[in-house]
């Protein structure tokens, strides 16, 4: 203690000798020293590649040709004239919106079920662990599980036929009529736990007094839910839903491993459309333009997400 106090005094004296200004300038640099490694890495791995992809999108024959020529907005025009692009946009929107809505509904339902005190606490904590499981599985494994379950000879068809809900073996992932719905269902299964975990934390943070006060005023359970629970959870719901919207819009491995975008483009989404342009057709310039479009959509939703986070 005494020793370090002496060291401190010595340091100050030394600093004063060298000039107070310089010492304080150095002190001001300390926070930048701490945040610089992550900043540098992210600039190198994010800002620089983004500039590159933008540059690629304005060129003709990026990556493939040594001297790629400037092409202006031609790549964007080509993308917009492609009917498969617009089909992918529509399918991405369907997949994303259905996923977000059902993630929320299932996540909220499970959170409410786990938050009640009607059930033994031990059962609740065991179920809480089990209900999160789908979230821990890799997209590739989720794809494989659902390909097994939804195989024409699989257990889902067997059960549905035994219950007389269907009377023939449905080819869930290989029929143009059902593939996008089967894919969306698998994604709904995989993604609700994030909502469940966050909403459960939110539910536990709502003050009991609000419900008691409402009870004295004669509110019933449904009214309490609608006028207290939902408004109190709203900030969390908006945050998670915006993030989920952005992430779901970008889903690649699940689609790639279940349907690969087929049959006949019926499950093509923006990410698979872009990936095929780049790595099946080696049209890196067109793929870059397509990737820029996804980036712009993502960043516009991110803008609302950040606005929302800062208001809280």
């Amino acid at each position: 203690m005494n020793h370090s106090a002496t060291a401190l005094v010595a340091a100050h004296a030394k600093a004063r000798r060298k000039g107070w200004l310089r010492y304080s300038t150095l002190r001001k640099l300390v926070p930048y020293f701490y945040v610089s490694p992550a900043t540098l890495l992210l600039v190198l791995l994010m800002l620089f590649p983004m500039v590159m992809v933008f540059k690629y999108s304005l060129m003709d024959g990026a990556i493939m040709k040594k001297t790629a020529a400037f092409a202006g907005v031609q790549n964007y025009v080509t993308i917009f004239e492609n009917p498969v692009f617009w089909q992918s946009v529509a399918q991405t929107l369907y997949f994303t919106i259905m996923s977000v809505v059902f993630h929320f509904i299932i996540g909220l339902a499970f959170a409410l079920l786990l938050n009640t005190n009607r059930v033994d606490p031990l059962i609740r904590s065991i179920l809480r662990v089990l209900f999160i499981l789908p979230w821990l599985f890799t997209a590739v494994i989720i794809a494989i599980i659902w390909r097994l379950l939804l195989d024409p000879n699989g257990v889902v068809n067997s059960v549905l036929m035994a219950l007389h809900i269907i009377n023939f073996k449905v080819e869930w992932f290989s029929s143009t009529r059902t593939a996008i719905h089967a894919l969306t269902f698998a994604n709904i299964w995989a993604g609700y736990p994030l909502y469940m975990v966050s909403l459960l934390a939110g539910l536990q943070g709502i003050s009991k007094e609000l419900y008691e006060a409402a009870g004295i005023d004669g509110a019933n359970g449904l009214q309490k839910f609608w006028y207290i629970t939902i408004p109190q959870l709203m900030p969390i719901i908006i945050s998670i839903a915006l993030l989920d919207f952005i992430w779901t819009m970008q889903v690649f491995p699940l689609v790639w491993m279940t349907t690969g975008g087929g049959p006949i483009y019926s499950t093509e989404v923006l990410s698979t459309f872009t990936y095929k342009l780049a790595f099946s057709q080696y049209e890196f310039s067109l793929a870059s333009a397509s990737a820029m479009i996804i980036l712009i959509i993502s960043m516009s939703v991110t803008y609302f997400y950040i606005k929302h986070q800062q208001r809280r």
Partner: protein, 281 residues
């Protein structure tokens, strides 16, 4: 009176249990089915009528994997890449989070927004320039390419989770070291890191999970079987032997195991960290 108490207490309890049971089937049935399929023979997997438990338990699928050096390599690669990425990410994230949580500085808000928005940049957008860069720098088909590019999406979460955690620690902790004449660097490693173990564990588990699950970059930035990770291994298996379901299920079980174990061990820290990170960030 009796009727009223039935309606107000017993019925809701029954409905709650019913809801939880439906939830259990919905969340766990596919996973349980996967697990038991890995212990069936290939002919039994699509047996009619379907049965959950195999008639003859067999670990043949697991033995096939363990005896195939190519498949064992997929696991070694995944453990190695995810392990290195987790270590490096933690190192950078702890230092950065300390800066964010303990100091006020110019551009702090801008930098914070930058890090939050990196979470939402589409991987497919980065993939194309990464491919170009990795080829240009001659690191295509190397561990380095994977480790470096994975950090772009593990780092933002790790920084946000760690900053959230450090913000919960009282400033008196490290100020005591500063008053004693120590530097903030000493305070970070001697005082803050030891008391942040729960936050570090949560961040490590989440980082490992992200790196272990990565598919798109692993698919595109590596080519040789020596460097393929588990998700790509499963995809290749699917393409080559489309009908060996029990083996694919066994691969899936083995591929999920590290995440399940990590999650069950660190569950308490993990959920606390996650909700702090995703809800409040």
């Amino acid at each position: 009176m009796a009727k009223r108490s039935f309606k107000s207490s017993v019925l809701p309890t029954i409905l709650t249990y019913l809801g939880l049971a439906i939830g259990l089937v919905f969340s766990a049935f596919p996973i349980v089915w996967m697990f038991f399929s890995s212990l069936k023979s290939n002919t039994e997997i699509f047996a009619l009528p379907p049965r959950l438990l195999p008639d003859d338990f067999t670990v043949a699928a697991y033995l096939t994997i363990f005896n195939d050096p190519v498949k064992v390599r997929f696991f070694i690669n995944s453990y190695f890449v995810a392990g290195v990425v987790t270590g490096l990410t933690l190192l950078v994230a702890i230092v950065t989070a300390y800066g964010f949580s303990r100091y006020q500085f110019r551009f702090k808000n801008t930098l914070n927004i930058f890090i939050i928005s990196t979470q939402t940049v589409p991987p497919i957008t980065l993939l194309i320039p990464y491919f170009g860069m990795v080829v240009a720098f001659r690191i295509f088909d190397t561990y380095l390419a994977l480790i470096l590019t994975y950090m772009v999406f593990t780092l933002p979460y790790a920084v946000l989770l760690m900053t959230g955690y450090l913000n919960t620690l009282p400033k008196e902790l490290d100020e005591a070291v500063l008053v004693d004449g120590g530097s903030s660097w000493t305070a970070l490693w001697r005082v803050i890191v030891p008391v942040s173990i729960p936050g570090i564990v949560a961040t490590a588990v989440y980082t490992f999970l992200l790196a272990w699950n990565e598919f798109l970059f692993a698919l595109t930035l590596t080519k040789s079987m020596d460097l393929r990770t588990v998700p790509i291994g499963i995809q290749l298996l699917m393409g080559q032997h489309a009908f060996e379901w029990n083996e694919m299920m066994a691969m899936s079980v083995l591929g999920s195991l590290p995440l399940l174990v990590l999650y069950l061990v660190a569950q308490r820290y993990f959920l606390a960290g996650m909700t702090a990170g995703s809800v409040k960030s």
